[in-house]
């Protein structure tokens, strides 16, 4: 059995074991076990990556159902590896924060804390499966596997009203993914195979009306997940009502399932329909950037603001994808990873503030966090500047490369349109800066309004912040670490010019 299969399945199996043994395991122990299992999984990924030969590391391809032509087909290439590593990293940090969470260790006779860890681990398996699946239906199975656990995380551990938000999140994504399944059926019927490497390498790519309709179905499904404006309306509530770990995973990992899907099962599998849809995707992406920035300028709740800012960042990713160029693919993967790390940190931070002050609205937070909780304030400042794309931090390269790809798009995107989109997206960068500066002024600076619950970073919080900050700085200073991994694999998504 390949190490990759172990890496994918291990967290989920551990999660099931923990859930069954919740009567005898403490929440803290479960979280520690979850972190350990995730690290093991990371080791397996690294092992299979270093032993790679061929296009996909750790590739396994077993027929699973001959009746359907369904294969148990997993493999990791340069497009998926960065996302796989980011997912595992975030899951380790989430487990770490759960292990230190006082509220989940005391007053816990139902084993709820253990179940939360188990759900996180199942979500981890599902996401790793999506990032490494090379069979359309297998991809879909993993895509769906994450949804119900996430519903429980938001509905049971979220704020009051979380259940409604969770159900709305679920309905949007399930409707989208069901349409995506129809698209997969169309491809399976027209191309006669479900294997993504075969599909992306068809001698004569799928063209015509039927594949176009299939492509539309897939694009709509993934656009809900990404989310692409105007299908993003499930997102702010779900992200802000979710508990901290849920928000981190939703923003850090779940949105990437959509963008990764756009690369892996849309642009690479149906290139011709994708090229015809690219202008619409690009336009909606930029509309999302502008709309989310405007929403952020008026937002009074830190968690909702971060949620809206995610819509904008995903807009940059989709804009990059819609150029269908080599730089575009590079930008999409880079920006996805950078967003995962930065928004993960932002949501952790918002969660810590919310835990202290009971709510993440600006009024509840008060002013002058610099004075009241200096180290926490600095971390928030760091995350905000990373998110607005300060050069030298990871977020800069994501946005920079996305704009670069729009400057020189593939023939799929009309140059005039691309440059218009580029201009508007650049305006979005300015607006992003504006709203984060507003956050800094409103919450961090100003005359301090001291409160009893002003507690600075705990040791765990400092540790989590440090890990993410190091990763963000590292990618910002040495982007070649990541682009060097991505670049050789770009050919699997778009045609590479010789």
């Amino acid at each position: 059995m390949s190490a990759l299969v172990v890496a994918v399945l291990l967290p989920g199996l551990a999660g099931i074991c923990l859930a069954l043994a919740r009567a005898v395991v403490s929440a803290r122990g479960a979280a520690a076990a979850g972190a350990a299992v995730s690290v093991l999984s990371l080791i397996c990924v690294v092992a299979s990556w270093s032993a790679r030969d061929g296009a996909y590391a750790g590739e396994v391809d077993h027929p699973w159902s001959t009746a359907l032509g369904l294969h148990w087909h997993l493999g990791v290439d340069g497009i998926s590896l960065p996302l796989v590593v980011m997912t595992i990293l975030l899951c380790v940090l989430v487990c770490w924060s759960l292990a230190a969470d006082v509220t989940s260790t005391t007053d816990d006779h139902e084993g709820a804390g253990v179940v939360l860890v188990a759900l996180v681990l199942v979500i981890e398996t599902a996401s790793l499966g999506v990032f490494s699946a090379l069979d359309l239906v297998l991809f879909f199975i993993f895509f769906e596997l994450a949804l119900i656990p996430m519903w429980f995380v938001i509905a049971r551990w979220g704020d009051p009203g979380g259940r409604l938000a969770a159900t709305r999140f679920l309905m949007f994504t399930v409707t989208g993914s069901a349409l995506m399944l129809v698209g997969f059926v169309v491809i399976a019927v027209t191309a006669g195979t479900l294997q993504i490497p075969t599909l992306s390498d068809l001698p004569d790519p799928l063209t015509g009306t039927v594949p176009l309709l299939g492509g539309v179905a897939i694009a709509v499904g993934l656009a809900v997940k990404t989310p692409l404006w105007p299908l993003h309306i499930w997102l702010p509530d779900a992200h802000s009502k979710a508990p901290t770990v849920g928000s981190v995973l939703l923003a850090g990992v779940f949105l990437k399932l959509g963008t990764y899907g756009l690369l892996r099962v849309f642009v690479s599998v149906v290139p011709e329909p994708a090229a015809r849809l690219a202008p619409y995707l690009g336009a909606l992406a930029v509309a999302g950037i502008i709309a989310s920035c405007l929403a952020c300028l008026r937002e009074h709740d830190l968690k909702r603001l971060i949620a809206y800012s995610s819509v904008g960042h995903m807009g940059f990713v989709v804009l990059a994808i819609s150029t269908m160029s080599e730089v575009g693919v590079l930008a999409a993967v880079f920006a996805s990873v950078a967003h995962g790390l930065i928004t993960g940190l932002l949501f952790f931070n918002a969660g810590w503030l919310k835990q202290r002050y009971g709510s993440a609205t600006f009024d509840a937070l008060g002013r002058g966090l610099y004075t009241r909780v200096p180290r926490l304030g600095v971390v928030l400042l760091f995350a905000a500047t990373a998110s607005l794309g300060l050069p030298g931090l990871a977020g800069f390269w994501g946005e920079m490369l996305a704009l670069r790809s729009a400057y020189e798009p593939s023939p799929a995107l009309d140059r005039t349109l691309a440059w218009t989109l580029l201009t508007l997206a650049a305006l979005g960068v300015v607006l992003t800066t504006a709203y984060f500066v507003r956050v800094v002024r409103r919450v961090l600076q100003g005359a301090a309004t001291p409160r009893d619950d002003d507690i600075d970073l705990t040791r765990t919080e400092a540790g989590i912040s440090a890990v993410l900050a190091v990763a963000i700085v590292l990618l910002g200073v040495a982007p070649g670490l990541l682009t060097g991994v991505i670049e050789p694999a770009v050919g699997a998504i778009v045609q590479v010019a010789p």
Partner: protein, 465 residues
């Protein structure tokens, strides 16, 4: 000439039915054990014979096994009612087996008159089953509704059959097909006759607009009988419909395919809408079974392709297993906690982990969500024929309904996994479950195990045809 391979299972069940009735008549006291033993023996014998002879073909064999083993499981589930004085055991087993014999005949019928007779043999005992509980006004009313609608639909079918006979001059499926293929009769008249013929089957299958009896009847009947109706009766009707449409009415496919597509789309939508408001497990499963019938009808637009047949049958098998599990758990829950509303089911997974987890898995299968991979794969399978034969809109409607259906399955799922509600957490009426409950649990676990196995090795079920 008699095709013994086809009729033997039905004959065994019919004899078993009479034996089950007689054994109670000659028993001095009220006995549940003996008729149950007789039923078990005859059902197992019938399935063994079907497997040994292979029935007519692979399709009929699978359908026969669904009917026989589905009945077997409901016989085991019916055991949980052994403490109810108002439930006569002999009659219950007699009627279950008679009706199952009708189901066996229905799926092997290759002649329109046999079809009508088998349909009646399936229906009449099941009407009596619904109203079987003595001095239960609701049950009597449910049976009465069922009876009236059933009689009307059968009458319509008979009328259709007679018109088809007028066109074809024959009643055997293969000869009807030949005659219809070369018929000079006006296409519209033939189309009307064909539609009238399938009304009876659509009624039994619970397709819209012939679904109105289902919610009332399921709620009025005892839980195992509702399970029987939703699985055995429905499967037999859908199986027979599959055979009729492929063989006898194959040549006039263009007449019925659009109608089947519309009926399928409306059925799944209406079923899901109805299920949305339910706060009672049986009511929800009743409406959900209407919606599921729509998913089984949808691939029929791809007939006569073998992929369409395989798709419909594999969906049918998976649906049947999941529904059997769901109804068995609900029956056990009713016995142990006294009701089937969501309040009674709340926290079932904590109070009774076995039943709770089985029900949860069955619900995931019905919704088509991982980890119940087999449910998802069968949803994928039934999407293929509509897309392949140009009914893309139907595929989109199906996709939307998959999403829609998740709402109520998830609601029950969350209820089952939630902490138990206070008022039901009182000591259960039957603290140490008798052996009948244990048998029902064994059946429930075995069926769930089959679903889990099929999720790991999908070819176990998807490769049957």
């Amino acid at each position: 000439m008699i095709d013994w391979a086809a009729v033997t299972p039905a004959l065994i069940l019919a004899s078993g039915a009479i034996a089950a009735l007689l054994v109670t008549a000659f028993h001095a006291t009220r006995t549940w054990r003996w008729p149950a033993i007789v039923s078990t023996v005859s059902l197992l014998a019938a399935s063994a014979v079907a497997v040994a002879t292979g029935s007519i073909d692979r399709l009929t064999l699978v359908l026969t096994l669904v009917v026989v083993l589905g009945t077997f499981m409901m016989v085991l589930a019916a055991g949980v009612m052994d403490h109810e004085e108002s439930m006569p055991p002999g009659e219950l087993h007699f009627l279950l087996l008679s009706s199952a014999a009708g189901g066996c005949c229905l799926v092997v019928a290759r002649d329109l008159v046999t079809l009508v007779v088998a349909l009646e043999l399936l229906s009449l005992p099941s009407i009596a089953l619904v109203g079987l509980r003595r001095s239960d006004l609701g049950a009597a009313r449910a049976a009465w509704t069922f009876f009236l609608l059933s009689a009307v639909s059968t009458a319509v079918t008979v009328m259709g059959v007679s018109i088809v006979y007028g066109f074809a001059g024959n009643l055997a499926y293969d000869q009807v097909a030949t005659a219809l293929a070369g018929s000079t009769a006006p296409a519209r008249a033939v189309g009307a006759a064909v539609l009238l013929t399938v009304v009876g089957l659509l009624f039994k299958a619970g397709a819209v607009p012939f679904h109105v009896w289902i919610p009332d009847t399921y709620r009025g009947a005892s839980v195992p009988v509702a399970g029987y109706l939703s699985v055995v009766s429905k499967s037999a009707a859908l199986g027979a419909l599959l055979v009729v449409l492929t063989t006898a009415l194959g040549p006039v496919r263009d007449d019925w395919a659009p109608v089947v597509a519309v009926v399928a789309a409306v059925t799944m939508t209406v079923g899901n809408l109805g299920a949305l408001g339910q706060r009672d497990a049986v009511g929800m499963l009743a409406w959900s079974s209407i919606a599921q019938a729509g998913f089984i009808l949808a691939p029929l637009v791809g007939l006569p392709g073998t992929a369409a047949v395989a798709a419909a049958v594999s969906y049918l098998v998976v649906y049947s297993l999941a529904n059997l599990v769901a109804f068995t758990t609900v029956a056990i829950c009713r016995r142990r906690w006294g009701g089937t509303t969501f309040a009674h089911l709340a926290g079932l997974a904590r109070r009774d982990p076995g039943a709770g987890l089985c029900l949860a898995f069955a619900l995931l299968v019905l919704a088509g969500f991982p980890p119940a991979v087999i449910g998802l794969l069968t949803k994928y399978v039934v999407l293929l024929p509509p897309v392949d034969s140009g009914y893309g809109w139907l595929a989109v409607v199906m996709a939307l309904n998959v999403a829609f259906g998740l709402v109520y399955y998830l609601r029950l799922l969350a209820t089952v996994l939630a902490p138990p509600s206070e008022e039901v957490a009182t000591p259960p009426p039957s603290p140490s479950p008798p052996y009948t409950v244990r048998f029902a649990r064994a059946a429930m676990i075995a069926a769930t195990a089959a679903l889990v196995a099929a999720s790991v090795y999908p070819d176990l079920l998807l490769g049957v045809l």
